[in-house]
């Protein structure tokens, strides 16, 4: 508890004890009134002060003002009616303060819990200095320095391992419990925990640019992108309080006047009491606090599972996802291609592969990588010149002085070179050397082991349609789609075609159904941003993907998509529960208050009780592990 909260607790206790005491020990006359007033002032002086300041600042309708008017009014009524019942005013103030205290305590506590959940911030980095280790602030470590990470420590900064092997726990980043083995030459990202072995790491980034900082920044900022529900509530709060105040005023004045006109006694006291009850219910606190808290808890819970949701608005959209569009490579398949066959070639297999690997040496496309891997030897880039990439087709280059074209059938057609089709299922790289066809290389990709389950899980989570988009050949695409149970597939697409396919789907879908695009963040930034919600997977360490997507899956497990959707559904259902619950109770109490059935005690429950329940409900959004 903070100092402020402790002070409030003491005030609550003193005032509560005084209130009980005054009801048990008979005191009479002015002394009694003075003691009651003292109890009232102890618990409520700050509210009265704030209400006064509010009026001076021209802000009349805030909750302080309302509480002040309601309680002062109740005391005045007690004096006017000579009933001497001051309990109500003090109790209302007391409960209001208890509610506020609980709220600030619960919010502070859950804020702390959620931050602890995301406690991946490293406190220090070890730098070797004359043979001994020195702990320094990670912010002070320059790019290219060598840092030492001992077993049990967090990797503070992204880098490349220069010495040592270790197994890493990436759980804090990915939610994945299996350790990852790393060795010299491997890239290592900050936030992982070293479980065995001492590592020396050459840093490749500053701390502020490292994965850990990026993730923390992203999660902390997420609450600033507000959802529609939050906007609705803040707009509602703006209208609600003045509206209730005006109704209270009308309630205090109109019925007695009507009664007078009809020749009956006015009954001012009863109606004013009802109006004061109104004022107590008029604070929108329960709504205003529980909505951001639910989102914050949901985002915190999701990030613990390795799903980073960049804002409450994305949480909301994700929960309405009905169509999921996938990129094939790296998303549903592993993106690890292997050379499966070399056909129709007159050159030796190895020679053809060499030409292909050299021509593709500058490309980071998974297919190029697999060619380079299959080639197996060091690539001398000096042998290659004039590399020209033709997006979605392939590329042309000059290798050892001969021109090489490597790509799909479209490239061959474009160049006007007759080619031989292949009967194998896979990605076919046709190769032409000096303008004549030289054969093709078959490369195939492996489906991710749980991709099929992931599609089924999505269907179960309420996704109506799954679509796969790929630049790959029709044959391959259809085989993968059939294997996995994807509803529709569009193949042989250029990156720009993917955008237009998504646009087509966006135009056809019903307004309320949202479309999510899932990609690996490489080459699909335009589609990620075009879709209602862009999900990038396997993004650990990839800044571009983290930048472009709305939801980032830290590892490349497609099951996480369904999980993310389920988390967002749970979070949103809690948000709606709270909105409906708070509104129903408040309006019910307003109605009962107007009829004179609900008294001020009732009203304070509607205010404080609802808030406490809403806050407790909101915290439930944090528990998403078993979804």
């Amino acid at each position: 508890m903070s100092k402020k909260q402790k002070k409030m607790l003491v005030r609550i206790l003193i005032s509560a004890v005084m209130l009980i005491g005054l009801n048990l020990i008979p005191v009479a006359g002015l002394l009694r009134m003075a003691l009651y007033l003292a109890a009232y002032l102890i618990i409520g002086y700050d509210i009265l002060k704030k209400a006064g300041k509010g009026i001076l600042n021209g802000r009349v309708f805030d909750e302080n003002f309302l509480m002040a008017v309601a309680t002062v009014g109740a005391i005045a009524l007690a004096v006017y009616e000579k009933s001497g019942d001051y309990n109500e005013a003090i109790a209302v103030m007391l409960f209001y303060q208890i509610g506020e205290l609980f709220q600030s305590y619960a919010v502070g506590k859950s804020r702390k819990n959620i931050s602890a959940l995301m406690d991946i911030r490293p406190d220090y980095a070890n730098i070797e200095c004359d043979g001994s280790l020195e702990q320094v602030d990670p912010d002070e470590v320059a790019v290219g320095s060598i840092i030492v990470v001992q077993p049990g420590e967090k990797v503070p900064i992204d880098g490349i391992i220069t010495e040592g092997t270790a197994s890493l726990n990436t759980g804090a980043l990915t939610g994945e419990s299996l350790p990852r083995e790393v060795t010299v030459g491997d890239e290592i990202i900050s936030g992982c925990i070293n479980m065995s072995g001492v590592l020396k790491i050459q840093t490749t980034k500053e701390f502020g640019e490292s994965t850990v900082s990026k993730i923390l920044e992203l999660v902390e900022d997420s609450g600033s992108r507000k959802s529609k529900s939050e906007d609705f509530i803040s707009k509602f709060a703006r209208v609600y309080t003045p509206a209730v105040c005006i109704s209270a005023l009308l309630l205090a004045v109109l019925p007695p006047l009507v009664s007078l006109l009809l020749g009956n006694p006015a009954g001012w006291a009863a109606w004013i009491y009802r109006a004061l009850t109104f004022l107590v219910i008029s604070c929108p606190c329960a709504l205003v606090i529980s909505i951001p808290l639910s989102f914050f808890a949901g985002i915190g819970g999701a990030s613990k599972e390795g799903i980073l949701i960049k804002g409450s608005n994305y949480m909301e959209t994700l929960s309405q996802t009905k169509i999921v569009v996938f990129d094939k490579t790296g998303t549903l398949t592993q993106g690890v291609f292997e050379v499966n066959g070399i056909h129709h070639n007159e050159l030796e297999d190895a020679k053809l592969l060499e030409y292909a690997a050299l021509a593709e040496c500058a490309s980071s496309h998974p297919i190029s990588k697999s060619l380079q891997r299959a080639y197996g030897k060091e690539i001398d880039r000096n042998r290659v010149t004039d590399i020209e990439e033709i997006s979605g087709h392939g590329l042309t280059a000059t290798v050892d002085g001969v021109s090489v074209a490597a790509g799909n059938t479209k490239l061959m057609e474009q160049l006007g070179i007759p080619y031989a089709d292949c009967h194998c299922v896979g990605t076919i790289i046709h190769i032409a050397i000096d303008g004549t066809y030289a054969g093709h290389i078959v490369i195939s990709d492996i489906e991710k082991p749980n991709a099929k389950e992931a599609i089924a899980a999505l269907k179960k989570a309420g996704v109506k349609q799954t679509v796969m988009l790929t630049g790959d050949a029709k044959q391959v695409a259809e085989k993968v789609a059939a294997d996995l149970g994807v509803d529709a597939v569009h193949s042989e697409l250029l990156p720009a075609d993917k955008v237009s396919e998504v646009e087509k789907l966006l135009a056809d879908k019903p307004l309320k159904a949202k479309l999510a695009f899932v990609g690996d963040g490489i080459n699909d930034a335009p589609v990620l941003s075009r879709a209602d919600i862009g999900i990038a997977m396997g993004a650990m360490g990839s800044d571009a993907a983290i930048e472009a997507a709305d939801v980032v899956l830290m590892d490349d497990d497609p099951m996480k998509i369904a999980k993310g959707i389920k988390i967002s559904r749970k979070c949103l259902s809690i948000v709606y529960q709270n909105i409906v619950f708070a509104l129903v109770i408040k309006f019910a109490c307003l109605g009962l208050g107007a009829l004179g059935i609900a008294n001020m005690w009732f009203a304070i429950f509607a205010d404080v009780g609802v808030m406490i329940i809403a806050v407790l409900n909101a915290i439930r959004a944090l528990r998403v592990h078993k979804l």
């Binding site: 909750e63 900022d221 606190c285 951001p292 914050f296």
Partner: protein, 72 residues
């Protein structure tokens, strides 16, 4: 230019009011208050001196919620 400030505010509605007050302050292009992380993110208009603008923001916020604090 965008800057993030740490704030102290107890109730969520007050945070909304602060956000509104900050947005209306001259020199502020946009402002968001994140109640859960207790942060205010302010984007300043071109050529404005953040320090002077933030003084005005603090004053405006104090007006709507006397209890709030902005760490400048």
């Amino acid at each position: 230019m965008k800057k993030t400030y740490k704030i102290e505010v107890d109730c969520a509605n007050c945070a909304n009011l602060m956000e509104e007050a900050a947005r209306k302050t001259a020199g502020v292009a946009s402002a968001t208050v994140n109640f859960m992380t207790q942060k205010m993110i302010v984007e300043f208009e071109e050529g404005q001196e953040p320090k002077a603008v933030m003084q005005a923001v603090l004053k405006a916020c104090k007006k709507v919620e006397p209890d709030c604090e902005i760490e400048l």
